[in-house]
Structures are given as structure tokens and as C-alpha cells.
């Protein structure tokens, strides 16, 4: 397909002569993947897809109950206080953002009439102003109309530090103005290429001003609507017991025609992931279960009953290893792993290169994670346009041995390599989680064959991931040679995610180890590329800059990506659902139906 056919096809989509779907299908036929195809459309000002799940029912209601099982129970319903996915999933049933993210990373309007683009005047030339047109005729569950005032209020609410909203980071550096009753302007201080953050997706739920108006700031905890939500979503609130059960009934005035399909919704919480999978796949007590971090073997066995199916969607979560280039065993100015020190052996790039060759990613994927992850050499993998094409991984013990021999690391009498009296002996730390301990064992075995000795250490997750300043075992302290964990990329844009590769984010004593750069490694080139990407408005150039940041760290073998994780869910065989790795599972719950 040459450029001319492509641009005439794009014209056809613009005129409506061919559908978006068939455009993507045609491009797929010549080997262009769907996200790239939809990115081509977006860059050419064709509005993004309307829905990623085709909705078939011809009337609203009549679908009976929809039963969702979360093995971590929701504890609160105000989406701006939601501390975890469980709460965000629950809140999203009643509240909606202006737009959400589908599983391919496309922006899909929900309370907005359309997604802002250059062509429809929604995005300004300088990249500082975004104008959202709101959907008309939307009503809150109590019958009051939804207007621009609610959007402006949501910004005031979340931006107020006294409210202590978890979403506040998305609202502090912007200004929101009402243009008319159904138009709002979001004004950024600087050119912002990734503008789809405030009022979008997980952080973007719009709150009704007439219910939360009095409870802005310090009084936020007292709002009755925190526990009895009034939103615009497809289901109306019925009952909530924190940590146990949440029920809702169909919103008869829902703003999408013929939706929702189910008459009632129930979200039950508690238990563990394996038995949640069992309740959907084997006994059919529930229709949908989320976040099944269960070994794939187990899921496959349960699926054989034919009552339910497992679905996995790509996400930005990445399981990776950090090789510490600073010295974790020497204390300088009250902290270990200080950037002022150098690791006696891991600061040698050859050692790091050899270590990267000792990770058998294919086996880790095949035998441990299955559908739960895909082996990768790149830190950013999704959406596809941000994935580095250059980075490749290899498992080769001979090559690792050769590199170490050449670099002068000789095997001692105990089989462990050493040079100038410094041995290749490391402490390799991660959190307690069965798949992680298995991964540790696989890598340790390979390292033994290359003369590297690993001491495996595992820390309880609640300690490992805490920000307890006094505890030496937290992941940001990095008081070990090697560390492994998963980090989450919350948006389908890696800019904020990649700030963990910048020099100003290095975790240290001064910032109480809250800095996001845990590896302590930095490179002026990466800093430069990152800063440039923050201002670059051309998506292709911007992606190239962010890929460069990723490649600098992965090629230095400081960050060793292992698996790009997927989000795994189980559903009843006849349930048509739509979950996304870029938004919460219930982002499009209005369009779920039973076939």
C-alpha cells in the first residue's frame, strides 16, 4: 500500500464512505497493526473510534442481573479518593469522565460530545488549550442536568490540596474555564502534548456540583455522596457495604440509547484470585472476575468446563530488573546506594551486559506467566507506537561467559568469577509472590553457569512497596545489588511513566526516597530527550524522543525488562464485555451485554 492509496483511504473515512472499522481491517491486511492505523487516523484528524465493543441489544434493560466479583473488595465510591483499582472500578459504575480509553489505547468520548482534535477546533495550535464540547441532554441520577459547571467544579474540588484527592496531580497545574453551558476550556501552563489526562479515564470522573459543592476542601470526608453516589453512569446506586458488596439498578435515563442491557448490577468483593476465577469459570456463580494474577496452567484447567472464558488485554505494566550501579553496601551521608558511590562490580558495563544475557525470558513467559505476560526487551511496550524496535533480548550463557572472560573476570576456586579480589556475588531482591520467586530461581540457575552467585531475597509486598522511611527493605531504598518488580504505566502515553529515567527524580535521602527514579542511573542525553518530548507536539517525533529515553536505559543494561504484563479477566461464556488495559475494567460497563 503506497502513500497515495493510504491518503485516499483516509479521505474516504473522513467522508464517511468507508467505516473506521473497515479502514483498520484493510490496513491490517497489509500488516499495519490496529493501534498504528488508528494513530494514522488521529493524526489526520479523523475522530477516534466510538466504541470498541459492538453493542447489539435493541432496547435498554431486560438483561437481568450482572454479577461482578472483585477479589479485593471496594472500600469507597468517590472516584477522587479511590486508592486502588478496586475502588476505581466501583466508582466508574456511577460516575463517568469526559472520555475513556479503550483496549487499543483510543480515546473514546463518554460525557464529551466528541474528542477534541485540531480539525474540530478542540486543540489549540500552541498545545496549551483544550476545548471540550460536552454531551447535551445528560442528566444526573437525581434528574438535574449535567453542565459545564460540574466540570469546572470537579477541577476546583480535585485541585484543592485540602480535599486530599488522589487524583490531584492531574489538576494542580491547569486552569479550567466555562465557555458556555456545554463547553469548557482546559488551559495548561505550557505546551502539553499529552493533554488527555484531566477529566479523562481513571482520574477524570465528573462530580455533581449540587452534591459535593459544600464539601470541597477539608470537609471532603463528610460528604454523604461519598457513600451514596449520584452520577451520570449507566447504573444508579442502591446499596453499599464497604469491603463487601455494592449494588445498583439500571439508570432509565442513561444518555446512550438502548444502554445499559442489565437491570441490576452487583459487585461482590473479598477472597482470593484463584477462587474468584473458580466462581466464574467453574461454578458460574458470577459473570465477571478481574485481575486474575493466577498461573495460566490453573486458569486453563478451569476453562475446560466451558462455563467461562479468559481474556487478556495488553497494558503498560512491566516486570523488570534493576542492576544497581551505586554501592548498596557503603553508607555515605546517612544513605546507602548513594549516587556519590560506584558499585564495585555492577558499574562495569560488561558485567551488566552479561547479566542481561542470562535471563531466559522465553521460559519465564512460557512456564510461569503464560497469557499473563509477553517477553520483552523494551521498558515501554504499549501502545505499540512507543515500543522500541531496536531493543532485542537474547538468552545465551556461552556468550555471557565469553564477555566476562574477555573483561577479565576469572573464575576462582569456588567457581565464582572475580577480578582484583572483587567477586561477582549479588543480593537479588523482590517481593513475595509465587511467580517472582520462580523467576528468581530460573535466573539464579543461569547465573551459576556463568560464574555469578546470587543470593535470593524476598520481602513481604506490604513492606517492599511501602514508603516507610525507616525501613531498609522498601523498593525505593534499593539497598541491594539487584531488584525486580512490576511498575504500572497508568496512561496510554509513556511520558509520565518515563520520568523514572530522569536525573531529577532519583530517589535519595533528601526526598525521603519518594523520587521515582529507583535505579539511581542517569544520562544527560536521556534527560535532554525527555525534556524535549515534554514540549514536542508532533506525535511521531515525540514518540521517537521517548523511545530514545527507553533505549538509553535498556542499552546501558541498567534496566532489564522481562515481561510486558497483560490484564487477565474471566467472564461467563455468554457475557460480551469490554475491558481495557488503559482504563478500569468497568470503563465501558454500559455496553456490556449477554448474548
Amino acid at each position: 500500500m503506497d502513500e497515495r492509496t493510504l491518503s485516499s483511504l483516509i479521505e474516504n473515512v473522513k467522508d464517511g464512505a468507508i467505516s473506521r472499522r473497515s479502514f483498520i481491517r484493510r490496513l491490517a491486511a497489509v500488516g499495519i497493526t490496529a493501534p498504528i492505523a488508528s494513530q494514522i487516523l488521529a493524526w489526520n484528524d479523523v475522530a477516534m473510534a466510538q466504541a470498541s465493543l459492538q453493542y447489539k441489544p435493541t432496547k435498554a434493560g431486560g438483561g437481568g442481573p450482572l454479577k461482578i466479583l472483585l477479589w479485593q473488595a471496594p472500600t469507597l465510591l468517590n472516584p477522587h479518593f479511590a486508592s486502588g483499582t478496586k475502588d476505581q472500578i466501583a466508582g466508574r459504575i456511577f460516575f463517568e469522565p469526559l472520555a475513556g480509553w479503550d483496549k487499543e489505547g483510543n480515546l473514546t468520548p463518554q460525557l464529551a460530545a466528541e474528542v477534541p482534535t485540531r480539525a474540530n477546533g478542540g486543540l489549540s495550535e500552541d498545545g496549551k488549550v483544550v476545548t471540550w464540547k460536552l454531551k447535551q441532554g445528560v442528566k444526573w441520577h437525581d434528574g438535574k442536568p449535567f453542565t459545564a459547571d460540574d466540570v469546572v467544579f470537579t477541577w476546583e474540588y480535585a485541585a484543592d490540596p485540602a480535599t486530599a484527592a488522589y487524583t490531584t496531580g492531574s489538576y494542580t497545574n491547569i486552569k479550567v474555564e466555562k465557555v458556555d453551558d456545554h463547553t469548557v476550556k482546559v488551559i495548561f501552563k505550557e505546551a502539553t502534548p499529552f493533554w488527555a489526562d484531566p477529566f479523562v479515564g481513571v482520574v477524570g470522573q465528573i462530580l455533581p456540583k449540587h452534591h459535593f459543592g459544600e464539601y470541597k476542601g477539608a470537609k471532603s470526608r463528610e460528604a454523604p455522596a461519598n457513600l451514596k453516589p449520584v452520577g451520570t453512569g449507566p447504573y444508579k446506586f442502591a446499596e453499599f457495604k464497604p469491603g463487601d458488596i455494592l449494588t445498583g439498578t439500571r439508570n432509565e435515563d442513561y444518555h446512550v440509547k438502548n444502554q445499559p442491557h442489565f437491570d441490576t448490577i452487583e459487585v461482590k468483593g473479598g477472597g482470593d484470585a484463584v477462587s474468584a476465577a473458580r466462581a466464574v469459570l467453574q461454578t458460574g456463580e458470577f459473570d465477571y472476575a478481574w485481575n486474575l494474577q493466577v498461573e495460566d496452567e490453573v486458569l486453563k484447567k478451569m476453562e475446560t468446563g466451558g462455563r467461562g472464558k479468559v481474556s487478556a488485554v495488553p497494558s503498560g505494566d512491566i516486570e523488570f530488573i534493576i542492576l544497581n550501579t551505586t554501592d548498596p553496601w557503603t553508607e555515605v551521608d546517612g544513605e546507602r546506594s548513594s549516587v556519590k558511590t560506584k558499585h564495585p562490580t555492577l558499574s562495569d558495563p560488561k558485567v551488566r551486559q552479561a547479566f542481561n544475557l542470562l535471563i531466559d525470558r522465553d521460559s519465564i513467559q512460557k512456564f510461569i506467566y503464560g497469557r499473563g505476560g509477553r517477553a520483552t526487551a523494551s521498558f515501554v511496550n504499549e501502545p505499540k507506537q512507543f515500543r522500541s524496535q531496536k531493543l532485542k533480548y537474547e538468552f545465551n550463557i556461552d556468550k555471557a561467559n565469553k564477555i566476562l572472560d574477555e573483561a577479565g573476570w576469572k573464575r576462582g576456586s569456588d567457581g565464582i568469577r572475580e577480578k582484583d579480589g572483587k567477586k561477582l556475588k549479588y543480593v537479588y531482591q523482590t517481593s513475595i509472590n509465587a511467580p517472582r520467586q520462580k523467576t528468581q530461581a530460573i535466573i539464579k540457575q543461569a547465573c551459576q553457569k556463568a560464574g555469578i552467585d546470587l543470593e535470593l531475597k524476598s520481602v513481604t509486598a506490604s513492606v517492599f512497596f511501602s514508603s516507610d522511611v525507616a525501613n531498609p527493605d522498601t523498593y525505593t531504598k534499593l539497598y541491594v545489588d539487584i531488584e525486580m518488580y512490576t511498575t504500572t504505566q497508568p496512561q496510554p502515553d509513556p511520558e509520565r511513566f518515563l520520568n523514572q529515567f530522569t536525573s531529577w527524580e532519583i530517589a535519595n535521602k533528601e526526598n525521603k526516597w519518594l523520587g521515582r527514579n529507583v535505579s539511581r542511573y542517569s544520562d544527560p542525553e536521556a534527560d535532554k530527550a525527555y525534556k524535549a518530548a515534554q514540549k514536542e507536539l508532533d506525535p511521531a517525533k515525540r514518540a521517537a524522543l521517548l523511545i530514545k529515553v527507553d533505549e538509553i536505559f535498556c542499552e546501558a543494561n541498567v534496566i532489564l525488562p522481562i515481561l510486558s504484563r497483560t490484564r487477565v479477566a474471566a467472564s461467563a461464556t455468554n457475557l460480551m464485555h469490554d475491558h481495557s488495559g488503559w482504563d478500569v475494567d468497568t470503563w465501558n460497563v454500559a455496553a456490556w451485554y449477554r448474548s
Binding site: Y166, T168, G243, R278, S462, S467, T476, L514
Partner: protein
């Protein structure tokens, strides 16, 4: 009697204060952070996390926090949960009915099995019945509830498809149907807990009855020509059950405390699952409240057991 009661209550106050101080200090010193989930989320700036810590008073010294908690508690303010930001007492009250129903029923079931079996086995020691009852009792309390629970789920939910294994506190049905559904979902957890408890009660009842059955007054009763049934029920059981009653009274706090493991397996929204969720989320106000209520109940039922003992056995005086 009244002075005894007063004395016991006065002793209870310092011991409860001591318990609360220890609980609070241990919780404050334990590793973990209620906002750890935010730490891995790049969308939440560290300043927000710090502001939250400050507004929840987590940065103050332990003693200041303890005194603040104590004075609030004395005024009936139990604090609010960090995880759900609602008041702890509401949270606990929501869980009490389910816990009372499930754990209470299982205790009744346990007694219904243990009393007749234990007494009958003791009146015919080393008979076939006694041997079987003994063996089953040993098996019963050797099998942990998480094992029997999973076994029942595999058998009755997955293989036979008779009962649901997810307990729901809101059943969308009325009238008889509601009772039927309630029965269906509660039968497995009640059985698991009841049989486990019954096993140890049986052993206890049997040995208590065996102790009494050899005493002279039993022989006298038999010599008077009373029927065997009357001797067993009126003369043996009544005396043998004094220690059993105390045991059951001391078991009562556990009824309120719920059954952590079983509640987790069957997803029963009881106090036990509230406690374990709170521990996992480092939700200190909830952990503190639940454990403290538990401590109060233990102290209270100890007192009740002592009073009951005196009432059942007039030889004990409260002087």
C-alpha cells in the same frame, strides 16, 4: 457479690488500658503504610501522600497519637477508616449480624453434636460407639478449617453444583425463597466451623462426664433405683456440664470476632474478614478498633464465666 463485681470491673480498667497501649504501640511500630498503593502510582505526587499522612496525623509521635485515640475513644468516637474514610463503628456494625448468624449458628451446631455424642460416649467408655466418636473427633480437630472448607467447595460447589461458595449479604429474594437461599449459602461455612468446634467440644464433654460418672453420689442414685436415663440427665450431666459452660462462655468472644480463615474462603462479610482486609491495607484505626473490642469481650466474658461458675456451683464463694 456486688463488691466482687465492682472489684473485677475496677481491675478490668487498667488491664484494658494496658492492652490498648500495647496494641497501639505494636501497630504503630509494625512496618507498612496505608498509602503504599499510592507510592507506585506516578499520578500521585509525593506531596499529596505527605499531606494525607499529615492530615491523618500519622507523622506525630506514637504517644501523642495514642492519647488522641484514647480521648476520642472515651468520647465514643472510634475514628474513621483510612481505606474507606467512613466511621469505624458503622463499619463494624455492618458486619456484626452476619458474624453472629454464621459463627453463632455454628456454635449451636457444635453443641448439638458434642453434648449427646460426648455424654453417650462417656456412659459407655471404650465401646464401639466411643471408639468411633473418638476417632472422628481426632480427625475433626486435626483437619484445619481451610482444608475442610476447600474440600467442601470442591465437592458440593464444583463437582455436585449444589451450593454456592460465595456468601452474599444481600439476597434478592423474599419470603421462603430468601430463607432457602440463605440456608443454601450458609450451610457449608456453618458445617465447616461447627464440625471443627464440635470435635473439640466432644472430647471435652466426654472427659467431663467421665470424671463425674465414677463419683459416689452417682452410685447412690443408681442404688436408689432411679432409671438410667434419669441418672444420666439429672445427676451426671448437670454436674459434668459446669466446666463445659465456662468453656462455652469463654468461646463467646470468638463468636463476635468471627472466623478469619473460613470467612475469607467463603467470602463472608463478617468481622474476621473486616480485620484481615484492614490488616492487609494497613488500616490501623479499623485494626485497632476490632482488636480492642475483642479484648473487651474477652475480659467481659471471663467475668461472666466466673460469675456463672459461682452460680452453678454454690460451693464457690466470691468473698
Amino acid at each position: 457479690m456486688a463488691t466482687y463485681l465492682l472489684r473485677r470491673l475496677l481491675i478490668a480498667i487498667p488491664s484494658l488500658l494496658g492492652i490498648s497501649l500495647i496494641l497501639f504501640t505494636v501497630l504503630a511500630l509494625a512496618p507498612g503504610d496505608p498509602f503504599s498503593e499510592m507510592a507506585t502510582n506516578p499520578n500521585v505526587p509525593p506531596e499529596v501522600r505527605e499531606a494525607l499522612r499529615a492530615s491523618f496525623g500519622l507523622n506525630d509521635p506514637i504517644m501523642v497519637r495514642y492519647l488522641r485515640w484514647l480521648s476520642a475513644m472515651a468520647q465514643g468516637d472510634w475514628g474513621f477508616s483510612f481505606a474507606s474514610r467512613i466511621n469505624v463503628d458503622t463499619l463494624i456494625l455492618q458486619r456484626v449480624p452476619t458474624t453472629l448468624f454464621v459463627v453463632g449458628t455454628s456454635q449451636i451446631l457444635a453443641l448439638c453434636i458434642a453434648l449427646p455424642v460426648g455424654i453417650y460416649a462417656a456412659t459407655r467408655p471404650y465401646s464401639i460407639f466411643d471408639q468411633i466418636a473418638n476417632t472422628l473427633a481426632f480427625v475433626g480437630f486435626s483437619l484445619p478449617t481451610f482444608f475442610t472448607g476447600l474440600l467442601l467447595i470442591l465437592l458440593f460447589s464444583i463437582k455436585l453444583d449444589w451450593f454456592p461458595f460465595v456468601y452474599r449479604s444481600d439476597i434478592a429474594a423474599t419470603g421462603w425463597r430468601w430463607y432457602w437461599e440463605m440456608f443454601r449459602q450458609a450451610i457449608m461455612p456453618i458445617t465447616v466451623l461447627g464440625l471443627f468446634q464440635a470435635a473439640s467440644y466432644t472430647r471435652y464433654v466426654r472427659s467431663a462426664v467421665l470424671d463425674v460418672i465414677r463419683l459416689d453420689y452417682v452410685t447412690t442414685a443408681r442404688a436408689k433405683g432411679l432409671s438410667e436415663k434419669r441418672v444420666t440427665l439429672r445427676h451426671i450431666t448437670r454436674n459434668a456440664l459446669i466446666p463445659v459452660v465456662t468453656l462455652v462462655a469463654l468461646q463467646m468472644p470468638a463468636v463476635f470476632g468471627g472466623a478469619i480463615v473460613t470467612e475469607q474462603i467463603f467470602r463472608i462479610p463478617g468481622i474476621g474478614s473486616l480485620l484481615i482486609d484492614a490488616i492487609l491495607a494497613n488500616d490501623t484505626p479499623v485494626i485497632m478498633a476490632v482488636t480492642f473490642v475483642f479484648a473487651c469481650l474477652v475480659v467481659l466474658f471471663n467475668l461472666i464465666a466466673d460469675l456463672l461458675y459461682g452460680w452453678l456451683d454454690p460451693r464457690i464463694s466470691f468473698g
